[in-house]
Every structure is written in C-alpha cells, then in structure tokens.
Amino acid sequence: MTYQPHAFARTDRSRLGLWWWTTDRLLMSAVAILIGLGVMLSFGSSPAAAQRIGLSDPFHFALRQSVYAAAGACILLAVSMCSPRAIRRLAFFVYVAAIGIMILLPFLGHSAKGATRWLELGGFSLQPSEFMKPALIVLVSWMFAEAQKGEGVPGVSIAFGLYFVAVALLLIQPDIGQTVLITIAFGAAFWMAGVPMSWVMGLGGVGIAGLCSTYFLFDHVHARVQKFLSPDKADTHQIDRAAEAIAAGGLIGRGPGEGVMKRHVPDLHTDFIYSVAAEEFGLVFSLFLISLFGFLVVRGLYRAMKLNDPFEQVAASGLFVLLGQQAFINVAVNLNMIPTKGMTLPFISYGGSSMLAMGLTLGMALALIRKRPNAYANPATAPAGAAFA
C-alpha cells in the first residue's frame, strides 16, 4: 500500500476524488458552517416554541432540524456530484413532480395559517413549491440557452410557459412570497441570459403591476404592507419584539440560551430566527451570518460569471440569486427594512422542506460551477467582463 498524504490524491480519478478536487471547497465550507449554525441555533431557539405548543420534549424541533440538516447535506453532496446534463434531467423530474403535487394540493393538501401549501407525509409536511423553485430556474436557464442556439427550439416561450404554470399554482394556494421569489429569480435569469433592454422595461412594468395587484387582491398581503407603512396603527407584535431582541443583543448578545423574546413570540424559530440569534449572540454573530450569506452569493455569482457555457452561467447564477434573495429578504424583514413576509432563512430557519430544497438548490449550483475541462474561461486572458471570443 502506497503512502497517501491526503484522502484524495491529485491523481485520484475516482468519482469522489474527482468531486473533491473539482468542487469549490470555500463555498462548500460556507454551506457546512451555515448548516452547523442552523442546527446550533435551533437547539437554542426551538425549546421555547416546543414549550409553547405543549410538547413534552423541549428538543422536539431541534432534533427534527438535525435530521433535516443531515438529509439536506446528503442531498447537497449527492447533487453536487452530478454533471450539468444530469442536473438538467434532475431539474426536469423535480419540476414535473413538484408541479404534479401542487396540482393535487387542493385535494390532498394540509391547510395551515390560511393557505394550502403542505402535503402531509407520515408526520412530515412537504412543501412542494420549495423544490419547484430551483428546478424551474435550471429549466428556464436551459431553455434560454437553447433559444440562443437558434436551432428552432422556442426556448423563451417554453420558459415563460413553465414559469406561468408555477405562478398559477402558487397563486391558487395562495403563496405570494414564493411567487415573488420565483418571479425575481426568473426575471434575473431571463435578464442575465441576455434579453434586450426594451423587454426588461416592459417586464419590469408588468412585475410592478403584478405586485400592486397582489396588494389589492390578497387580504393578508394588503394587511402586511399596511402594517409596514403605518406601524403606529397596525399590530406589529412580531416585528416590535424582533427589534427589541436585536437591540437587547447589542454587540455581543445576552449569551447563549439567555434570549427572552423567543418565549414571547410565536414562530420566532422559523421566520425570525435571525432576531433570536442577534439577541443571544449579538452583532458580532449577526455580521458573521450576513457575511457568510454575502460570501456565498457573491463568490457563487463570481464563479458563475466565469463559466463558459450560457446554460451553466445562467442556471448557476439563478440558483445563487434564489439563495441570496431569500437570505436578504428574511434578514431585511427582521431588521424591519421591508414589509413582513413569511420567508425562511436558508439553512438556518426551522423547516424540513426548506432545508432539503436548499440542499437541492446549492447542490445544483455547486455541481454547475465545478471545474471541468473547458468549463471556465482562461483566467489569464479573460478578466471579469472582458471580451471573450
């Protein structure tokens, strides 16, 4: 047996060895840290939630979150080993499955908090729309790329078709948050794929009109926007407590487990986990968390930018946009910068569907930006944004 200085030698051509040497290990580490933090925070924050709803086991949610985190990590690793072609196939099947389940939701679904978004599967609530998002982004990127080839595939029309089917099903639930998320990600993908500026303007207008119409059509959106615009009048219990928690945390926080807001406000372990973390661990931790997400998104987009293939470029970027916007919106809601929108903080908030879907999203993204022969522009001749022949 020969001496091996490393688990994977450079010369290791096994599937795992290849994966190790071609994957962006910095991004992988950032994700690993995020998942670890998520599990840690859920042990701190969710006993309060478990207690409130009368569960005898204080770690009911925390233990489940640990299982989800492990499963999410497995999905992430497995998917990140795929080739771009396999990613396209995976996206297609996931999309079809998710859409199929979403069509059946009105008949089989589980209603909670005024919406039918969940499918009960043996004690686990599956939210198909979470999985549909990354699949849709990969598929539309593929279609845009096909359209560019000019080989007769009506890619743009198909992409819009896929998008409208998804949006229609989301609005039936209704789930305005996810609709906004996929609209932004779809728009970003469409734009990055190279849509003419005049179309950008037009679609921007349609998007704004759409947002305005949801404001008038859906009561809970209306109430939330009203609440944000006139905080004096509306009941802003959650957001007020979140602001107090963040302020109470200060620079270094109250200390692990010392937070008090988590006992007073429902659902802090999901949408307002950032505030819980800020109260217990302070600004130092919050900035670390924000930096981690910022690093993930910026480095991910940077790597995607360097790719050669239009499909890989747009799909990878779109997936990072998906992650980035969700992190941004969640933290921004916690900091009361935008109206309250029920949205999970990727990898950190409690929730199985969210965790697994994020594993899928990041897995796909990492797979697409892996080093492959001819995948990247020659760094010596092609700086960012420079002409590439």
């Binding site: 000019g150 890619g155 910022g294 930018m305 944004g385």
Partner: protein, 585 residues
Amino acid sequence: MSLVHHTSSGLWRRLIEGVWQVEHAFERNKAKGRAADDTRLRIFFVLSLFALAFLLLAVEATRSALFSDAGKGSGALDLPPEARADLVDRNGRLIAVDLVHYGLYLNPNEIWDRVETRRGIRAALPRLSAARLEKALASGRREYLIGGLTPQERAAVHDLGLPGVQFEEETRRVYPLGNSASHLIGFSDTAGHGLAGSERALDPLIRNAAHTGATVPLALDLRIQGVLEEELRKGRAEFSADSAVGIVTDVRTGEILALSSQPDFDSAAPGAAPQPNLVNHAAASVYEMGSTFKIFTLAMGLDSKAATINTMFDANGPLHMGSRVIHDYHAEHKAISLSDVFILSSNIGTARLALKAGEANLVNYFKRFGLLEPAKTELAEAARPITPRDWNASTVASASFGYAISVSPLNVAAGVGAIMNGGVYHPLTVLKRKPGEKIEGSHRVVSEETARHMLDLMRLNVLKGSGGKADAAGLRVGGKTGSAEKAGVGGYQRKKLVSSFAAVFPTDGPVDGPRYLVLILMDEPKATPKTFGFATAGWNATPVAGRVIDRIAPFVGVRRAPATPFAPSGGDRVPVGDDVSGIEQ
C-alpha cells in the same frame, strides 16, 4: 416556430411577432458573438447588486443592534403596554411610580435537585407560598412562579445558582407612601389598568403621559394629607368610630388637597387589606348628613328671598307633619331669627323655612349644589345620592335638615365649598389645576350676598354655636355640625350617630378670597368620659377639624389674625345647640 398562428386579429399578430422577436434576440446576440460576454456583464451587475444589498444589511444590522431605541423606553413605541406615568403631589413629591421588577420562572425540566431548589427558593423568598412552589415543581413545563421581585430578591435567588430558575423583567407599580392617601391614590393592576382612586379616575391621562415622559400632578398636598390622616386616625381611635372621613379642599378651585377614609389600606397591596378597608367612604358611601344640610337649606332660603337673616321663625313646640313630629334638640319654645335657627340648629325653624320656600325651590337649589347626583369629580367611586322618591311637604321638611336624603361626603364638600366660594360651584378634582385655569362645569349657585351671609353664619356658629371646639386660634374658622341618627331596622337609632363637621377658614376677607374647606365625618363615634357622655359632632368631628385647621393653615398660607374678635368657646363647656336632628315617626 411551432406556435399556433392565428392571424385573424392584429393583436394576436403583434403578440406573436413580439415573441418571435425576443426568441430571436438571443440568436442575434449569439450571431454577433456577444452572448457569453454580455451574460458575464449582466451577472457581474447582479453580483454587484447583491454585494451592495448585503453591505446594506450589515449596516442596518449594526444600526438595529447598537443604535436602536427599541425596548429602551425612550420612544413612544418602546414602552411596555402597561406603562403608567409617575404620580406626584401638587409640590412634586412622588406618589406612584413604575419600577422594573422581576418575574421568577421555574422550569422543572432543567432542575437537577428538587430538594435543594425547594429549600433554596423558600429560604430566599419567604413570601412565596409553599403550595405555589410545589405546584410549579410538579408541573411538566416552565411556569411563572412569582412576580414583583425587587433587585435584592432577584439577587438572593439568582445567587443560589440553581438551574431551571429564570428571571424576566416586568414593570411594577410602586407606591412609596404605604397607607398614606391610599383611597385618593388608588391602585392599578399588573397589566397597567387603574382600578381605584386617581389611578382609575385618571387612567387614560396617566397612560398617555407615560408616553411623553410627563408626570401627573395631583391636587393632593402630602403635608396636609399627613395632618388630616394623623388627626382623623387619632379622632377615630379616641371615639371608637366605625369609620371616619376627612376632606380638605381649596374652595376657589375645587382641588382636593387631602382626602382620607379610615380605615385604609396599602396601595401597594390592596389585596392584603380586609375588604371593608377598601371602601372609600368619602366618595362611595352615602349618609343622611343631619344638620350639616342646614347650610344648604339656609343658603336656599336666603338666596331665593324666602327669608332674610332676620326673619323670625316659630320654634315654639314641635312641628307636626301628618303623623310625624319634628323636635328640636335644644327646644327654645319661642320664635327665633333665621341666624338663630342656624346657630341653635333648629330643625323646626329649618323645616318651616323649607316649607315657606317651597318644594320646587328646595329641589332646584339642592340640584344646583350637586346634591342629587354623584359628586362631580373624576373619582369613579363617587356614589349616587339616595333621594326621596317624591318630593312633598314631608320629605321637604326632612331633607331641609339632612334626613330622607343620603349623599356622599364629597357631595357635601362640593356643595358647601360652592356656597363658601362666593356662590360659585366648582366640580371637585383630584388633579392639580393650573393657575388661572378655566374650570369646566363651574356655575353660580347663590349670590355673593348670600355667600357672605353664610360665611358669617358659619363663623357665628363657631363663636356661639356648636362649632366652638373648632375655633383654631386666629384662623377665623366657621362651620356647621351635624349629628344624624342612623336608620336601622324599625326606625332611627338614637345611639348610633353619623357626626359631621363642615368647616371653612378663613371666613373673613373678600367673599371670593382664598378659603379652604375641611369636612370631618365620623360613623358611629362613641361617647367618652371626656365628652360627658355625648357622642354628637360638636364633641368629636368638630375638635378634629379644629386641630386639622390649626396645623394646615401654614401650609395653605392663611395667616393668624393677631387678635380674635371673640374668645373661642370654652374647653369643656357643652357647645350650644349641638344637635341631634331627631325624627319621631
């Protein structure tokens, strides 16, 4: 293109052309060799946007964590919902204040050693009931154990180092004065709702003031309150009265400078007091006041011109009203002038005056004096008077000397105050009025001339009548006694009296000059050897009022006259005309 071409309408054509165009925009870009490069630029743009967005998040996170007012109590939004403003007396002395206390929570799941926890907490917090602690220990979840821990108590429990013991801040209302002025101050619940006294009466004001950081000044003067309480307590003990009421008001403003109802309670722990102690007899109890009411009847008689100060009334023999007979306590068996009716406290004379003036006049004036409805004050405790179901000769005669109508001491204070204030009625207030403030609800009840006569009569009654023991040296005190038999089963009870003394000082000076009213009332005072067996107002309520006036005059700035025109009534001489208004059925 595999799209369905349906060109019958121009709109469809344009739409399809548009789709066609964008489908091929990509192609055209590709053809120009710009696609990948273009995409790079665009991704770079998105990347920059996200970099900016996360930078913005970092800035906002810093601002929210370090420079936010949330939860600091400095902004209107950050106060706890139960926040209440500080209450202070008219001189700014603290009466009630919100202070941070701690709630103790026990999480049995985290406890290692139940025995140690039980022993430690019991030793550190003796006031916690053992049963309560056992219940929390036996429960399967985190429970609120006890609230209102002071920082010292919190430290004592905290220093035990017990796991599963947690504290959360909570606001508690603190009343540093203990029993002092408790009926006037009242109290609030832990949710910040005023439940009694000024805390309840001024609830919206106090809660709003909390948001501006302002204090709420009461009309109360703690120095006067201290004197009133001390003298009232002494008097109640001396005469073994069931309960006693004292009120001091500034008649020019209607401000309640002091108010005491004995027995009282600690505002900080109203639940610990016996239930009867919580009743504010000054506001919530109504009494047949007896002769004190003659102030109202005479003011009515003079003001309605039914009589002058010198009109003679026949007090020769009892007055027969159908089956009832009205007697005088000190029967004179002759005709007496109106001023003697007052000073001798003649029931017969007063009844004749009321009958002469007529029922309409009496009701009209009583109404103006505010005697037919709850006393006009912020206090929610103010009770509705019990008035005769119908006014006829019999009830008019009875009401004229304070029977058949029951009012609260506050009613009397407001009504007498109006007559002594140059004839202008001011609603009573627990709030400090601003100088020169226009008082809402003020109205004239009698002329200044009538007011002047009444001041003189009050003074004369102290000089020559039943109020002698209230004549504090040099303070020109005026007043009227009343000793009413309490109604019981089977009629009025001779030995159970409600004695009262309505005093005013100084009685000289301009008719609308500075003037203060002191009302003392005792419920069932007992005779003592020192009172020669008397239990009437001249022996108990009157000297208490005199001592109060003697001590508070410096606080309200009433100077002692160098020499009093008349010598005060002798110490243990039976006061003239100290009356019990008796009614025989």
